[in-house]
């Protein structure tokens, strides 16, 4: 399937990230009768974020299924259904609630193919959210994708644009493995070009969201827009930044990250998860290792502040990286202080 360039695919059709996700689901559900959606308030309510609004009208309550508030139970049901012929898409409202799914995802879903010597498989998708700044406080704002990324047997997708979200979600649904798909809840209204014609995006292929020559900014999900804004500001002071979006934390396109850093000789990694022992650690150490002989400065990590996310707007906004903090860091890394 073709994968038109994500920056400007020339179709002119602009939709939101939420719409892109709904489209991906609808298309896959039309294509394959074994795909179904299961989660809390996914049917008539169309999820708490209204992202799936309209889906139940087309597919009915047999395929868009409201569940009790049983994250472990519905994830487990998904695993079993996937093992026996279905392609479940499990909706976990807030990414913070994946805490409740860890056993089913990690000890069951991730390992069944291997433990059975390849005889059983678990083609399921767990869709969930991430991202702070919604004034939702410590238990509804986390970006916990690092955990699943740590686990062999799982694949992890963190899209940053409507285009990527649609193409990657379709790939996720067709994948024969358990895939965790993290959507930034603040980005559901983000608009972007998405072609009318069908396409999928392969996993493990990073996308260069902006080309540049002086510094590489590797950014994920919500932080891609932040990095692009920082790059724009950097251009204003004569620093040419390249913005690279891995799109999937596993499989990880190490090569593109490393090549970009080799080219620019400087790199920053930006992610909305907690900084310590998080995604920035992996990305930074992959680059620091792979581009070691090319780097003019240490790779700098910029994650969320290592604190439970505070409710107060006066505090919450301090905990995530912004175009300004990335701009400042890039300046410093480029020796411009």
């Amino acid at each position: 399937m073709s994968t038109p360039n994500s920056q400007s695919n020339g179709t002119g059709r602009v939709i939101t990230m939420g719409q892109a996700i709904r489209e991906a689901l609808a298309e896959e559900m039309r294509r394959d009768p074994n795909v179904f959606v299961l989660g809390e308030d996914v049917a008539e309510a169309g999820t708490a974020f209204k992202v799936l609004k309209g889906l139940v009208e087309e597919f009915g309550t047999d395929r868009v299924i409201d569940s009790p508030i049983s994250e472990p139970g519905i994830t487990g049901l998904g695993v079993g259904a996937a093992m026996t012929g279905m392609r479940p898409v499990i909706d976990i409202m807030f990414g913070d609630f994946i805490t409740l799914t860890m056993d089913q995802m990690v000890n069951q879903a991730a390992k069944i193919h291997y433990m059975s010597g390849g005889k059983l498989k678990v083609p399921m998708v767990l869709r969930t959210t991430m991202g702070a700044s919604r004034r939702s406080a410590a238990q509804h704002s986390q970006s916990l994708h690092a955990w699943f990324s740590h686990v062999p047997g799982l694949k992890v997708v963190i899209p940053s644009t409507p285009y990527d979200a649609k193409g990657l979600l379709k790939t996720a649904i067709r994948d024969d493995n358990p895939v965790a798909f993290f959507e930034d809840k603040m980005m559901y209204q983000l608009k972007g070009e998405v072609p009318e014609e069908e396409y999928t995006i392969p996993f493990g292929v990073a996308d260069i969201k902006r080309e540049g020559s002086d510094i590489t900014i590797v950014a994920t999900s919500s932080m891609v827009q932040v990095a692009l804004a920082a790059a724009e500001k950097l251009a204003g002071i004569g620093i040419s930044a390249e913005v690279v979006d891995p799109r999937t934390t596993f499989p990880l396109d190490k090569e593109t990250l490393i090549e970009s850093a080799k080219k620019t000789s400087r790199a920053i990694v930006v992610d909305e998860g907690y900084e310590r022992y998080g995604v920035t650690a992996e990305l930074a150490s992959v680059i620091a290792d792979g581009a070691f002989y090319y780097l003019d400065a240490p790779v700098k990590r910029m994650g969320a502040m290592d604190v439970p996310i505070p409710f107060s707007p006066a505090l919450e906004d301090l905990t995530i990286q912004t175009a300004d903090t990335v701009f400042e860091m890039a300046k410093t890394v480029c020796g411009r202080i």
């Binding site: 309510a45 409201d66 009790p68 508030i69 939702s136 406080a137 238990q139 509804h140 107060s312 905990t319």
Partner: protein, 342 residues
């Protein structure tokens, strides 16, 4: 800090020099009435703040369910524990919190109960035994039995109440904790506030079988009652708290109730999941404040004008509290990384 109204805990025995009904003093009935009205006014003001875009985030209003929080908490001592939910303002007030400090928390101000770090879904008031609201559905059940465990082990005679919505019965943790509580005869009462809906889904679509049986399955004493009538709730709570305090173990109390507003303040168009007539029926025919007020008057414990003045006093208190919070400063930026570790 505004503290306009005396809020004595109703005692369980009638005092000689005071008119009493069912062994409860008149002042105590009126205090309960006042607490219910306080919750009502507080929540209406919260809704107003949200509508006026003065409150960050969302809030889940307790309006319609006041008889449960007040009925149960009136049976508790100030040092008894409660754990609360995302719909927790009512529990917080009923357990003795001040509305001004609560408003400050809801607005993310430094003067709030949690210095603005917790907000509506994490408000806690440890001085009055409120171990906190919780934004994980069912997430506080472990805390509740843990508090009961401490009480039993330390021999303090305290009791813990775990408030939860019927939606929490979807969470496995509820069953694990009920089993532990009954095994070890912990002084804990599981209070199920069955307001009929898990967000936008009717509970009959999410709960198989009879809810009270979920408690009985573990050998726990379980009762089901009308959560709109505070006299019923209070009477049951008194009995079950007494029982737990005596070491006779946990109980499960399932209260039928209804939330008048949306799941949260932003949930305005509700027709797709529940009928206007249904809402109207509860509001007009089963309002816990009306039921209680009418009874007070009928029993000649007081008259309408007294009830009205309680309401207007509380309303003024709530208004002062909101204003206090609106005027209060945000926490200093330096607070962002304090309190991560004790």
């Amino acid at each position: 800090m505004a503290k306009t109204a005396k809020r004595t805990k109703p005692t369980q025995k009638a005092r000689a020099n005071s008119k009493s009904i069912n062994g409860v003093d008149v002042e105590d009935w009126l205090t309960m009435y006042q607490q219910m009205v306080r919750i009502r006014h507080f929540e209406e003001r919260v809704n107003g703040l949200y509508t006026a875009a003065k409150m960050p985030g969302l809030a889940h209003l307790y309006i319609g369910e006041e008889a449960i929080a007040v009925g149960v908490c009136s049976a508790l001592n100030s040092d008894d524990y409660i754990t609360s939910t995302h719909r927790g303002h009512g529990h917080c007030i009923a357990k003795g919190a001040e509305v001004d400090i609560m408003f400050a928390e809801l607005l993310g101000k430094a003067a709030g109960y949690c210095q603005g770090k917790g907000g509506s879904m994490h408000i806690a008031d440890q001085k009055n035994g409120n171990l906190g609201a919780n934004a994980i559905v069912g997430g506080s059940a472990g805390i509740a039995i843990g508090a009961a465990f401490s009480a039993k082990r330390l021999g303090t005679g305290q009791v813990a109440v775990c408030f939860f919505g019927e939606g929490a019965l979807g969470q496995g943790l509820m069953y694990e904790t009920m089993n532990l509580a009954q095994l070890w005869k912990l002084p804990v009462i599981f209070v199920c506030e069955n307001n009929q809906y898990n967000e936008y889904t009717h509970f009959s679509e999410t709960a198989a079988g009879q809810i009270v049986e979920r408690g009985r399955a573990f050998g726990i004493h379980a009762e089901e009652l009308d959560g709109q009538d505070i006299r019923v709730v209070y009477e049951a709570a008194l009995r079950l708290v007494e029982r737990a305090r005596k070491g006779e173990g946990p109980a499960f109390l399932m209260c039928h109730t209804y939330r008048y507003h949306g799941h949260h303040v932003g949930d305005i168009d509700r027709a797709y999941y529940r009928k206007k007539e249904e809402e109207k029926d509860w509001v007009e025919n089963r309002d816990p404040i009306v039921i209680f007020g009418d009874w007070i008057i009928k029993q000649k414990l007081s008259d309408r004008s007294v009830l009205d003045s309680i309401s207007s006093e509380v309303k003024a208190e709530v208004e002062r509290g909101a204003q206090f919070a609106l005027d209060a400063p945000y926490p200093d930026a330096s607070e962002v990384d304090t309190n991560v570790y004790a």
